[in-house]
Symmetry: C2
Subunit: 292 residues, 2 copies
């Protein structure tokens, strides 16, 4: 399997550095992402007002082996985002559109989050969690409290002793009963809540380790031993709150999966199982309605 290059990012980052005519090709490609893969080199050349050879050179400039290679890579880069943006507004029903847009936003957000994830932090967090005597999830507010519960649920099922608490007072009380070997896992979209900051400080005083899943650079993030930072643009858009919550849950999933594999030898098998259980690739789920 070859090195995967994100062609779209590459084109954008090369903006301005390309030769004049190649830049014209890049502009044309970027504004017709969804169609490029079904055009021939010649057609693109004509549409962009350059020669076929220039289109080819452009492909090489962005790191591909040639036009063929470029077409495939672009198709792959575009497919993920595109699958949700197409669906001819005209023929698809409104509900259909709604589903596409919301699911699309979620998938997109998962992808974005994935790129933000810091490998080292995740690794540290997994190590801490796997070795914990007791894991306590703290979250405040409807959303984060739910994520905390979900996290506890998740780890509990894996056989790791976990619990979740949403009450600020109780959190502080509980924090003072912890000691070395225990892990506090603080969850907050904003990273601001004073209750959480207090609880973490207390827990740390008594020797417990701390992990935070929150906005990077926030007070909470700075306070914990390990911080998993995620920056999801949080404007007031209606669908956003749960989108970021979804991302949080996904991340906890990764941590749980990581903690569950104690021994290195089992990792390969573990990953293999996840891989083969991918629905699309492995199981026939019967005919899937396309537009309906």
């Amino acid at each position: 399997m070859q090195q995967v290059i994100d062609i779209i990012s590459k084109m954008r980052s090369l903006n301005g550095e390309l030769r004049k005519r190649e830049q014209r090709v890049a502009d044309f490609v970027l504004s017709n992402l969804d169609q490029i893969s079904f055009l021939t080199q010649g057609e693109i050349a004509q549409a962009a007002g350059v020669s076929a050879a220039t289109v080819h050179r452009f492909c090489v400039s962005v790191g591909c082996e040639g036009f063929r290679d470029f077409k495939i890579r672009l198709a792959q880069s575009v497919a993920v985002s595109l699958q949700y943006l197409d669906g001819n507004s005209a023929e698809a029903s409104q509900t259909d559109q709604l589903v596409s847009q919301v699911f699309g936003a979620l998938v997109d957000m998962l992808n974005t989050a994935r790129q933000q994830l810091d490998n080292a932090s995740m690794t540290e967090a997994i190590a801490l969690l796997a070795g914990a005597r007791r894991i306590v999830f703290f979250g405040v507010g409807g959303g984060s409290a739910n994520v905390a519960r979900e996290g506890a649920n998740r780890f509990f099922r894996l056989g790791l002793p976990a619990e979740a608490h949403a009450d600020g007072y109780f959190q502080r009380m509980l924090a003072s009963t912890l000691s070395t070997g225990d892990v506090v896992f603080a969850i907050s979209a904003s990273g601001q809540p004073q209750e959480l900051l207090d609880s973490i400080s207390i827990a740390r005083q008594y020797g417990a380790s701390s992990i935070s899943l929150t906005k990077s650079g926030s007070d909470l993030a700075n306070l914990t031993d390990v911080s998993i930072g995620i920056d999801i643009p949080e404007d007031q858009d209606i669908y956003k709150p749960s989108a970021s919550r979804l991302v949080f849950i996904a991340i906890i999933d990764v941590l749980a999966a990581g903690a569950a594999r104690e021994r290195p030898e089992e990792v390969k098998e573990f990953l293999r199982r996840i891989r083969t259980s991918l629905v699309t690739l492995s199981k026939d789920t019967g005919p899937k309605p396309i537009g309906d």
Copy 2:
């Protein structure tokens, strides 16, 4: 934008109906999904032990215009799942792999769920929810209870009166206080819990409408006015439980978004906002680390 055909599903549904040699091509393609797009027709022919012409005929048989077309469509179908399966096992760290696999599974599951969603049911559900005087979410067991809470949270924020309950006894009691105009929303991965079935029956007796989000064809699904059925293969794989929960939350998100838009005129603007907030396509988030 052309009609999107899910090539992989098509190949699977055609299994057995293809001509002998074409079936060989299909088998080869299906077991080398990630590489096909970078091979030529001739190479595939050789690898599958057939002639180039047969490969071409195979492409036409699965609904493509030719081999070129097939390659692109396959690349698109595969891209979503594939983006998580690559990452040269050799150079990527184990944690990295873990993140890729888990996120990939989630995205894949979202896609699968999306294809299973029944438009009509969603539309009905949205209508019911938007017009509800009171929405009561019922879920039993750790997972579904959390989803119920999340749902209540979600609708509550949108200004719709929603609450969630996880206790079986309380659910039955509450059910008997409902009446016309109220909506019971039952959530269950299995669709089996007796408490839920009872509660729904009771609520219906008193005139409340009912919606279920559960396994299609289950007892619960059959009992409610509107049933949103999802079949996520639920084996004992370690990451699965929360994956299906995630899908549930995503679906509730769609319902909430749908219910939030009361007037048709606002729909366009609403969708536009979601669309433009897609991170990948709209914002340059700077250079994205590929393998790290």
